[in-house]
Symmetry: C2
Subunit: 453 residues, 2 copies
């Protein structure tokens, strides 16, 4: 028996060792592929922090800022705090753009839940859904959009057309194309109440289109005949809740609901307008994905918007649509079937940060008598079942007293903002992004509180 | 010694068995994640075969076609061949669009090599590369583009600006925006020699821009002053090799090199023009990715093109850029350091299919005296080191004799094509896509060969 046992255990050992070698080789192979692809991706992400502001000079400044931030974050030494204070003193804080980098940490916490894998042989075709008048929209993206609106209760989607766009900028241009008559001798007037989103005039007029023309502040608009009015609510830049102001029979409305989400404002009604625009840039923070959507009542308008996107870009990136669908679904998954938040609920997380930031900003403004901020009344949110004040994605800061050019004043204190004149308004105001990284936001409020004239 | 050996081998055995269990568990975990993500993707891909043609009636026809194709391909029974013949007799073949579905099978063969994994926290920002004047271009995409042009030798990239676009359509619009003076009283004339790409007039004029205006066939252009001439080579629709035809001092040229790749035409020179357009849709077949690039000499032109894309869509999908970079790199990886093709070399594969298809089409045309095709002289390809004739991505078919409306004639035989008038040319011609699925292409040539007037 002993003689027989010996070879058996030896056999088992050999078998076991062989199995180990096999398994190790297999694991190395799998890990290699896995890591190779993660590695490729990680390499891309390194570039994510390189940002710019549009103008060449601002660009250089921003590179310098990022460079300093990187050196600060990578240094761990006893003199860290002191050095950071010294470096921060000189650092420029750029809050000109509404780059939603604040959201990065939330998505990091969510780990692999939002990972998307795309194989080389998918999305070869231009076409996504032959049955849909918007033939380039991915059905899973439409389902995710409808699901999220149903959960949040911020917009009616039943019986509506969903048109996907390369961000809501493209959809805005598609909308004014679709709403402007093709055979009119004069271009259609496009208006919005000041302060209005600074890109509206540029996007309307940069091609000198004969179809539509920017006609400025809706409050001063008196020309007879048809017109398009843009209603952004909550408004960019000032966070106010808005309705149409011209209110004439011949007016066509475009509602920009980019910020109509619970982290920014109480959802006190279900939006049900003719043409409503949304975007992932501001709802989930994925600005680089360039995905927006329009919810459209009229079939002919949806068809003309689709035509615009066909002529402009022959559809919209399938990869971005797939990723946006995944992300919107993961947001919805952070709530149970009854709409109650789970532990890591997305909108609760966003609401907590925005409330904290607004409190921090209001505290900083109190420290001197140089600035003022808009006040918001509180409303009941039908989604989160609580009453609260708006926490807009931008702060519309006014320089009080004799400071006439607030943008210039802020720049002198190494804070880059966007001045009121870009929004058709007074230079005493600036727009400040509330969606930047924690480190930048903290430095901004700390610096603001210490400004003395 | 014997006593001491026994426990040691037992220890080794236990250790080895534990390692077995550990490794198996680890492998199961890795595979589970891996498969889960592949699964997610597979669900998305189900929609890939739903395609459409643009017009509503064609759309319905196309749905019907796809439906039938699906039922054919899923049936495996003794009467399969007979049934397929019957079903094929009635089936409409749609070769109106240049949808490059032909490439799907190659990328399937490449398996996981082109798989891209994107996590939820990447590409939050609008910005990709602060140091680049095109601030939204991913550095890895630029590197992949430069690498592929260097390998193929079809375009100079050194010292040039690479501007990424949402397909080359957006880049075309960015180019004519950048080349048209902003303060001119008259719009800039845009011309191209007929037959020209059917979308050029539409893309130039659909917004009734005051900056530029379609002025038709370059061969008939006599207006004095500045103008833009589009040179597509090899040309869409007729596959001819082209140069500028107006040749006046005040002309600005845009070279569309979408089809200047070895599977379609011998690479007999290195292109080095002022403004050159390329796209993944036609080079690798990834039309749904909506990625094109411009190679631009003049910095100011590159800057204005970037401005157009900023105003139009605030940049270009990061996900699509990442995937396009991966795919272009995999294409380059199918060649060794000296540029010699490996077993599965991409352009050799494409060349083989295109040659086979063109032979098949020419054979079909010979069977009756109703049609004719362009003839191409052969040239030496500096990339593949062989002499061959062009194998264009479209066939420019002429109906001979008294058939005046070739598109209508083909439609009566259940073949959808795009008629010559869309290209500023005679209705005796049609453009036919050579890049569709095998089954469609085979049915088309088989049907064409049997047509009797």
């Amino acid at each position: 028996m002993a003689d027989k046992k010996k070879p058996l255990s030896r056999h088992v050992l050999i078998l076991s060792l062989s199995l180990n070698i096999g398994l190790i080789l297999r694991l190395l192979y799998v890990d290699e592929n896995w890591e190779a692809e993660r590695g490729i991706h990680a390499a891309f992400c390194m570039e994510d922090n390189h940002q710019q502001t549009g103008g060449a000079s601002k660009l250089e400044i921003y590179s310098q800022v990022i460079g300093k931030m990187k050196s600060v974050s990578s240094s761990i030494s006893p003199s860290y705090d002191t050095r950071m204070q010294v470096e921060n003193r000189d650092r420029i804080v750029n809050l000109d753009h509404g780059d939603p980098t604040m959201y990065q940490s939330f998505w990091e916490q969510m780990g692999d839940k939002t990972t998307v894998v795309i194989n080389g042989w998918n999305f070869i075709s231009y076409f996504s859904d032959a049955k849909n008048l918007c033939w380039f929209v991915e059905p899973d993206f439409v389902r995710a959009v409808v699901r999220l609106h149903k959960l949040v209760g911020n917009a009616i989607t039943q019986g509506r057309h969903i048109v996907v766009g390369t961000g809501s900028s493209q959809l805005y241009q598609a909308a004014i194309y679709a709403l402007s008559p093709n055979e009119s001798p004069d271009p259609m007037s496009v208006v919005s109440a000041a302060p209005y989103y600074s890109s509206y005039p540029l996007m309307t007029d940069f091609l000198k289109s004969g179809l539509h023309k920017w006609a400025g502040d809706a409050q001063n608009f008196s020309k007879s005949g048809p017109y398009i009015e843009l209603v952004t609510t909550p408004n960019n830049p000032d966070g106010s809740t808005r309705g149409a102001v011209v209110n004439r029979n011949e007016g066509l409305l475009v509602h920009d609901y980019a910020y109509f989400w619970p982290q920014y404002t109480p959802i006190s009604f279900v939006a049900d307008e003719e043409l409503m625009l949304f975007t992932v840039s501001k709802s989930t923070g994925h600005a680089g994905t360039r995905i927006g959507w329009a919810v459209v009542k009229d079939e002919e308008v949806a068809r003309k918007m689709t035509k615009y996107i066909e002529l402009n870009t022959i559809g919209v990136s399938k990869e971005s649509q797939i990723r946006a669908a995944k992300i919107l679904n993961v947001v919805a998954d952070t709530y149970d079937e009854l709409g109650n938040p789970k532990e890591d609920a997305f909108f609760e997380h966003g609401y907590r940060i925005m409330t904290k930031r607004w409190n921090q900003l209001r505290e900083a403004v109190k420290r001197n008598n140089l600035f003022s901020l808009p006040k918001f009344s509180s409303s009941f949110c039908n989604f989160s079942h609580r009453k609260y004040e708006a926490n807009p994605a931008f702060a519309w800061l006014k320089c009080e007293g004799d400071i006439e050019d607030c943008e210039k004043f802020m720049r002198e204190h190494k804070i880059l903002t966007r001045g009121g004149k870009h929004f058709g308004f007074s230079t005493k105001y600036v727009r400040i992004s509330m969606l930047d990284l924690d480190a930048n936001f903290d430095l901004f409020t700390e610096r603001l509180s210490r400004i003395r004239q």
